[in-house]
Symmetry: C2
Subunit: 192 residues, 2 copies
């Protein structure tokens, strides 16, 4: 394979997008970003994932209401009912919920389990960015994990890693900004 230099530009252009144009998202572009996701690495190449693709407005509204309640710090009790379509996640044309299989009965994933699902999430978001689509990744829904799992009928033995809203962005976004590399690179051993 020849070196792909443009990918370096891609990394610099991934931005969290949370506002959308009315342009519909085709099944074809969805398949492309999902294909990118499943080509990510996973522990022992077990590919322990499922991707719930939510287009149904009622399901998006229900998930969005739980997300808003989670953002407000309400871990239990019913989510406040909003006018349909007003929540941040309601407005995204597609929500993708990557789930990962977890051992044991609790259905709760640990830190290392993330190594088998978050690279797939990143591939999905990079592929979306390369196509001109916008995404963002939130894990805030996990404050109301049980409620969200009930809506999506996620079975025991799987945990939800994130919610990724996806659509065509409302506008052009510039490159992202980061702290200088030298502030976060350590050579050989952490200095005393």
């Amino acid at each position: 394979m020849q070196p792909i230099t443009e990918v370096m530009e891609l990394f610099r252009h991934q931005r969290a997008v949370r506002a959308w144009s009315d342009r519909p998202v085709s099944d074809e572009v969805l398949r492309q970003v999902l294909q990118a996701a499943i080509h990510a690495p996973s522990g022992s190449n077990t590919q322990p994932w499922r991707f719930i693709v939510v287009r149904d407005q009622q399901v998006r509204d229900a998930v969005s209401d739980e997300y808003e309640a989670a953002q407000a710090g309400q871990s239990d009790g019913p989510a406040p009912r909003r006018a349909s379509g007003t929540g941040a996640l309601s407005r995204a044309p597609v929500l993708i919920v990557p789930c990962v299989q977890v051992p044991g009965r609790t259905g709760r994933a640990g830190f290392q389990t993330g190594a088998s699902i978050y690279p797939a999430c990143q591939n999905l978001m990079l592929a979306a960015c390369a196509l001109g689509l916008g995404t963002a990744m939130t894990t805030s829904h996990r404050v109301r994990r049980d409620q969200v799992h009930a809506i999506l009928r996620i079975p025991g033995g799987f945990d939800s890693a994130a919610i990724i809203p996806l659509g065509w962005p409302d506008r052009a976004y510039g490159p992202n900004r980061r702290a200088p590399l030298d502030e976060v690179v350590i050579h050989d051993r952490w200095p005393d």
Copy 2:
């Protein structure tokens, strides 16, 4: 930004590489893959990461010995001493250990913390692949997390997400293979 179609090919060509040629890895290519890493998303863009870049042979050998002991399922006791340079991680010219800041006193990360470090790991590995470098990602060292943290002097408040050996591959690798997309995509709600 124009659509980057080549990135789709990149995803299909990421393979776990664990054998290396003698070609040296320059500081310049290392900087490129690390730049890719820090352009990944993180929760609220906190960029809560450090990347330990291990070139020192003694440190690599010590980490490699712990990794071999972890692979053998020995969570405590001293790592068996091997002839220097015989362990899998000893032979990689560079080891990268991505670490993530974690709240609280335990220094132990949870599932969601992974959303702020594994996308950076994936960017790093994709950038390496794009440049023709090989990588693999292991979390097995965490069986002997305390011992590895002692070697690298990782302070409380940070956790190690993975060890990523990096170098020029010993040979050409073909594309990766995955289960069909339709086996892992779910529409709207998990079926009963």
